[in-house]
């Protein structure tokens, strides 16, 4: 009995050694072919996209998905890669984003992720992504804390709120001259982060600030609007649900309040938020005004109709991932999470769809990012305000 056990163990050990030898010889073969410069010509990989495809901001999620698909198809054609996009619908809910991320991290063919869209979602999934060693690039999450070092594989192609908050606050002070204003957060990380950035600037300028707070689930703003005084000529809404801001604007009109709404990038939704005279800041430029983007604009409009500023940053994020995968393949390697992450960190694009270079600092932030300001006209059009 003992003898048979020894033989069986030896046989298993021999098989294991044989297996290791053959895999190491495979990798040697791969390295050797890489070294000769021919690269990995069968460049296949999957990229996950986490976006609010359904839910309260589905129009933005749809736009993000469309631009990700456009980027993948254009990059596959240019780089001769076979990258496939795997969709994950987060509905802008952190709990949903966690479920999608768990699905993605357990799918070994997915080497990187674009998204998620919301800062609170990034907070929910950041450590999962880090544990899986998966690079994830957001085209819209702007909360400052996201790049404090907690999420080592997180990147973003947009500026953070420490840029948006002060820029918006300074614009309000210099151009709208309020003696008093109301600022209402929606109790989410994105919103409270922006309020924290803007509040000290308003107070330092001597503006009387009424800071209020309502949940995203609230739809009745009549009592809050009644509180807007005649002196409060601006109401700042750093919100994510454009439909809520639209209702707030309606209540302002119904109660004959003259305050102007100033929204942040979460309200950029020309199909939903159309209160005339309102301002909306955005991390994304109007790419229809960038000559170099003319062909992308034409293709996107032909395929998907009109779009706002949420799609182009996701195009940029997807392009970063695609180029990272292509560079790994050119080096003769098979794309995996580790080498794609390393390639993303080295990203250095001199131009992009956003009209600016893309490179990341050591925290994952976009180097030299900007914010853009729009005003809503009487026809509902978002008109860019020049710097």
């Amino acid at each position: 009995m003992k003898g048979r056990l020894v033989i069986a163990t030896a046989a298993v050990g021999a098989l294991a050694v044989a297996g290791c030898s053959s895999s190491s010889s495979s990798s040697t073969t791969t390295s050797a072919s890489g070294g000769s410069g021919s690269g990995n010509t069968n460049c296949t990989a999957s990229v996950g996209i986490e976006a609010p495809i359904t839910g309260s901001v589905a129009s933005l999620g749809d736009e993000q998905l469309h631009f990700a698909e456009l980027a993948v198809s254009m990059d596959n054609a240019a780089n001769h890669t076979k990258i496939t996009l795997v969709q994950g619908d987060t509905q802008l809910e952190p709990s949903q984003a966690v479920t999608v991320t768990q699905q993605f991290t357990s799918n070994s063919s997915i080497v990187a992720v674009v998204g998620p869209a919301g800062s609170q979602e990034v907070e929910a999934v950041g450590s999962l992504m880090a544990r899986a060693g998966m690079a994830f690039i957001s085209g819209s999450a702007t909360a400052v804390a996201l790049t404090s070092g907690s999420y080592s594989t997180f990147f973003r192609v947009v500026s953070k709120d420490s840029v948006q908050g002060p820029e918006d606050a300074n614009y309000i002070i210099k151009n709208l001259h309020p003696k008093a204003l109301m600022i209402v957060d929606d109790q989410e990380a994105y919103s409270t982060g922006l309020v924290s950035a803007m509040l000290p600037i308003f107070q330092a300028a001597g503006i009387k600030v009424d800071h209020e707070s309502v949940s995203q689930k609230v739809t009745d703003f009549s009592s809050l609007v009644a509180k807007v005084t005649a002196a409060e000529s601006v109401v700042v809404l750093p919100w994510q649900i454009a439909a809520n801001a639209q209702q707030f604007g309606r209540d302002l009109a119904q109660e004959h309040k003259n305050a102007v709404i100033f929204g942040t990038d979460g309200l950029f939704d020309p199909g939903t938020f159309t209160i005339t005279g309102s301002y909306v800041s955005s991390f994304g430029p109007d790419i229809t005004a960038i000559p170099a983007d003319a062909s992308i604009v034409k293709t996107a409009q032909a395929k998907y109709g009109s779009f706002g500023t949420f799609g182009p940053p996701v195009f940029a994020a997807t392009h970063v991932v695609d180029e990272a995968i292509a560079s790994v393949c050119k080096a003769g390697q098979t794309p995996n999470r580790s080498n794609v992450l390393a390639a993303v960190k080295k990203t250095n694009e001199p131009t992009s769809i956003l009209g600016q270079p893309i490179a990341f600092d050591s925290h994952g932030d976009l180097v030299n990012g900007k914010f853009f300001l729009f005003k809503i006209t009487s026809t509902g059009k978002y008109q860019l305000i020049p710097n």
Binding site: A58, S222, Q246, Q254, E255
Partner: protein, 305 residues
């Protein structure tokens, strides 16, 4: 002073909504001693029905029938369909558990709530559906008294809400059906022995309570413009609070509780801060329960020995 009255107008409007939903809670509790946690979701279904009626008649910007007729169709359809849904829920989910331990129908009610919420999600998606009320009811059709603005929709909600509450009170106190409902609420077995069709009476109670929730849903859509599958949860919770504060099982109590909750929310938002609204409203519930456990207009339950 204008600010005080503006907040009062806003509070009474919201309170009327809560009162209509709370009435359904109280009616069902009265006859079955069941807290129907699916009741808030019936309000949600009513809101969706109103939205789709608007779309059927051309959409908010291009309504192709007179607006008063549109409103009547919205309210009648919501009342009828949601009332019918309430009857169906009672027949298939609660009736079989009538003599089961009280926890069983309670758990079922929670299950029905999730079922309705997720059915709406599957059928209608998670996108907000927007009534765009101002496209067919102009703001200028309201009234302005000094600095107090009262929207025509607010006037309609309060007037219709008051009329429905009065109508229900008359039905319960002055009609044969009402007498049967009171008899079943007092003692189901005795009512049955006296020849009252208990099943029909309970079904009628569910129909009426659910119809009121459906009407409240349409009102909410007109007032707040947005409908999504989750609006029933918070509204149901507030209406439940209103019913308990007023005295669960008491119809006048439900009306009073609804108005109190609506006004409290409005004044807390206006005079303290919107951050504290839910804290204070639910704190009010706790205080009332400690001071008067049967609610403001409820009667202490006598235990037979």
């Amino acid at each position: 002073m204008g600010f005080f009255f503006q907040e009062l107008v806003n509070g009474v409007t919201t309170g009327a909504l809560y009162a209509l939903i709370a009435l359904g809670f109280s009616m069902v509790y009265g006859v079955l001693k069941l807290l129907n946690f699916a009741h808030g979701d019936l309000y949600m279904v009513g809101a969706y029905i109103g939205f789709f009626v608007i779309q059927f008649f051309g959409g908010a910007a291009h309504v192709n029938i007179p607006v008063p007729l549109l409103l009547v169709i919205m309210f009648v359809l919501a009342a009828g369909l949601v009332g019918g849904l309430g009857v169906a829920i009672e027949r298939f989910a609660y009736r079989p558990l009538r003599d089961a331990p009280r926890i069983a129908p309670l758990i079922t009610a929670i299950g029905i709530s999730f079922f309705l919420e997720n059915s709406a999600l599957l059928l209608f998606g998670a996108q907000y559906r927007i009534y765009n009320t101002s496209e067919f009811i102009s703001f200028s059709s309201g009234i302005q008294i000094g600095s107090v603005s009262i929207d025509s929709v607010q006037i309609m909600v309060v007037v219709l809400g008051a009329a429905l509450m009065l109508g229900l009170r008359l039905l319960v106190n002055r009609t044969r059906l009402g007498k049967q409902m009171r008899a079943v609420a007092a003692d189901r077995e005795a009512a049955e022995m006296l020849g009252i069709n208990v099943d029909f009476t309970i079904a009628a109670t569910f129909f009426l309570g659910s119809a009121l929730a459906g009407v409240a849903g349409v009102m909410a859509g007109l007032l707040f413009n947005q409908v999504t599958n989750t609006i029933g949860f918070i509204a149901g919770l507030k209406a439940f609070t209103a019913a308990v504060v007023g005295g669960i099982g008491s119809l006048p109590g439900a009306m009073l509780g609804g108005l109190l909750i609506g006004i409290a929310e409005s004044f807390v938002t206006g005079y303290i801060s919107s951050t504290f609204t839910n804290l204070i409203v639910f704190g009010l519930l706790i205080v009332v329960m400690l001071v008067r456990p049967s609610g403001l207009l409820g009667r202490a339950q006598l235990q037979k020995v």
